[in-house]
Amino acid sequence: MSADASTPSRQPISGKALARARMRASLARNWREFRTQRDGMLGLIVLIFFVLLALTAPLYIHPDAFDVAQATGPSMAPPSLEFPLGTDENGLSLLPQVIWGSRTSLLVGFAATVISMLIGASVGIASGHFRGWGGATLERLTDWFLVIPFLPLVIVLATVLGRSLINVIIVIGITSWPGTARLVRAQTLTAETRPYVDRAKALGGGDWHVMSRHVLPNVMPLVMANTVLTVAIAILSETTLSFLGLGVPFAISWGSLIEGAFAHGAISAGAWWYLLPPGICVILVVLAFTLVGRALETVMNPRLRER
């Protein structure tokens, strides 16, 4: 195409560029809408705060803070100027421990969710897309996994696999995917009844093409909103696992702190400062994720706006 003074030069717009531009526009639109959700924004701020807290902790917390040999405070002492959140059974200040706990709790939460979403979304789309034996089997598999009660399964897996960071992440990820898979499957079924899928197939689009190019973008918003909620549940799961002594060994997490309070008689000693902060942190973070998730969902589904 020659650029001529008389003819306006027109670059052919590539399909990819067009798609990217559209995606940017819709993201901007959704963000604007999200900003109007007060609850969601509040949750987002809380989340950002905790993530920053977790990421920056190594900058101002020295590992000595967790070294029992270097403990300076009295055992199970209430909050004071020197120890803003009091001390634990070893005389170590609790404040740095609570802050440090955010790292494991959030890390496990996010990582397990990634696994859960990858498995869940794949299985969900596949079981919705493939009719016949393949899809039916996947659906059965999902249903069966859903039936098995969460904590007993987690206990069994943790016992079988042993305790390590990776294993904890895997265990939580493995037990969370069925919920996502089921929802994604239902959405896939709906998406595939749309005419453009038929057209794609008529044009020769194979299974992979249909699933990745048509179904996936359609299902994406759902998956995103569900992801946020899954993280909340994953964090609760990690807390529970740690409480039961099945968490990441030698790592501090909010769950391990609660377990510490339990195991070392904080209750009978009346050491509320040991018990409250980690629990409150869990509540805040889980609540924040829930609020963000609800707000995201409202943005994606205008029908819910009046709620």
Partner: protein, 344 residues
């Protein structure tokens, strides 16, 4: 379809897969058959999982026990039999098991049996209370959407939903027992019964009830959050429906419209959810019984973890899974009873 809203996600899950079929009987039969399939799956998984244990299985099964050389040989011989043969032995009676609990040195069923009633009592009371209160809260807040009651209730239920139930239990213990804070010692710290009290007398029941208060309160609070949120969501879904306009047009009072028309429809997914939630209920039992040293299956699981007492864990896992399957079947059948669209 709602997802991130935990209540609505649960709702969607509860109502999925309900397809109309011909008649109540066929529907029930189908559901039972599916459940049996799941039972088979569970048993297989149970068996396979534990045989996957890394390391020397002998060590795992005999840890901490003084096992005579003779028993050791016998054990090794059993575990060295072909996989399939072990499996067949296992399924013949998954509970008796030739392997006994490592801790108690008794057949696993004997160990489990006395712990069943305390868990049933605790879970039963908590489930009933949380259901009734949760549903009432959900109706009240959903029908009066946006009112102060709704805002406050939704706020509190969201917080309760985000709260680890065992932490709540510990909090309650901290506040209400031991007299360590300003509040006097109101409730027992642990256990189900004060030692020495005869539980077959009314005085004994009272003692048990007194011990039951805190753990039951903990679980009730933990469960009612989700029920309330789901009921509210469910009712809000109904609010826009045309048949409510018809009902109003007939001259019914607001409360009558709510009670006779909106609530019965909104109740359907909530009721099934309660049963489908049995898995979640079980998890709550494990941690809360641990906190309160309530002598039920949950505490047993916690102790079994310490060892790990593998045969016991295996049996408990099986028991929990089977209960869940059973309650799922009940949920499905109940839904058909309540919703005529499914069974006709």
């Amino acid at each position: 379809m709602t997802v991130a809203d935990p209540a609505a996600a649960a709702l969607a899950e509860a109502t999925q897969g309900r397809r109309p079929s011909g008649g109540m009987l066929r529907y029930t039969v189908r559901r039972v058959l599916t459940a049996l399939g799941t039972v088979v799956f569970v048993i297989v998984v149970n068996f396979v999982l534990f045989r996957l244990l890394p390391g020397d299985p002998i060590g795992l099964y005999t840890r901490g026990r003084n096992v005579s050389a003779q028993q050791l040989v016998k054990l090794r011989e059993q575990l060295n039999r072909p996989f399939l043969e072990q499996f067949l032995t296992y399924i013949r009676n998954p509970f008796s098991s030739t392997l006994s609990s490592t801790k108690y040195n008794q057949p696993v069923w004997d160990v489990i049996y006395p712990h069943i009633w305390p868990t049933v009592l605790l879970l039963g009371v908590s489930t009933i209370l949380s259901t009734v209160i949760g549903i009432w809260l959900g109706i009240r807040s959903g029908w009066g959407r946006g009112t102060r009651f709704d805002q406050v209730t939704t706020g509190w239920t969201l917080i309760l939903y985000a709260m680890p139930e065992f932490w709540l239990g510990m909090l309650l213990l901290l506040v209400f027992t031991g007299g360590t804070l300003a509040i006097p010692d109101l409730f027992p710290v642990n256990g189900m019964v004060t030692p020495g009290v005869d539980t077959s007398t009314p005085a004994g029941w009272l003692d048990v009830a007194w011990h039951l208060v805190l753990p039951a309160t903990t679980l009730t609070l933990a469960y009612l959050a989700e029920y309330s949120l789901v009921m509210r969501s469910s009712l809000l879904d109904e609010l826009g429906e045309d048949y409510l306009v018809t009902a109003r047009a007939k001259g019914l009072r607001d409360a009558q419209v709510r009670r006779r028309h909106a609530v019965p429809n909104a109740l359907l997914p909530t009721v099934t959810l309660i049963f489908l939630n049995i898995g979640f209920i079980v998890s709550g039992a494990i941690t809360v019984e641990t906190v309160y040293s309530w002598p039920g299956l949950g505490l047993l699981s916690y102790d079994a973890l310490r060892g790990p007492d593998v045969p016991l864990l295996q049996a408990l896992f099986l028991l929990f899974s089977l209960s869940v399957v059973l309650f799922n079947v009940i949920a499905d059948v109940l839904y058909a009873v309540l919703d005529p669209r499914v069974r006709t």
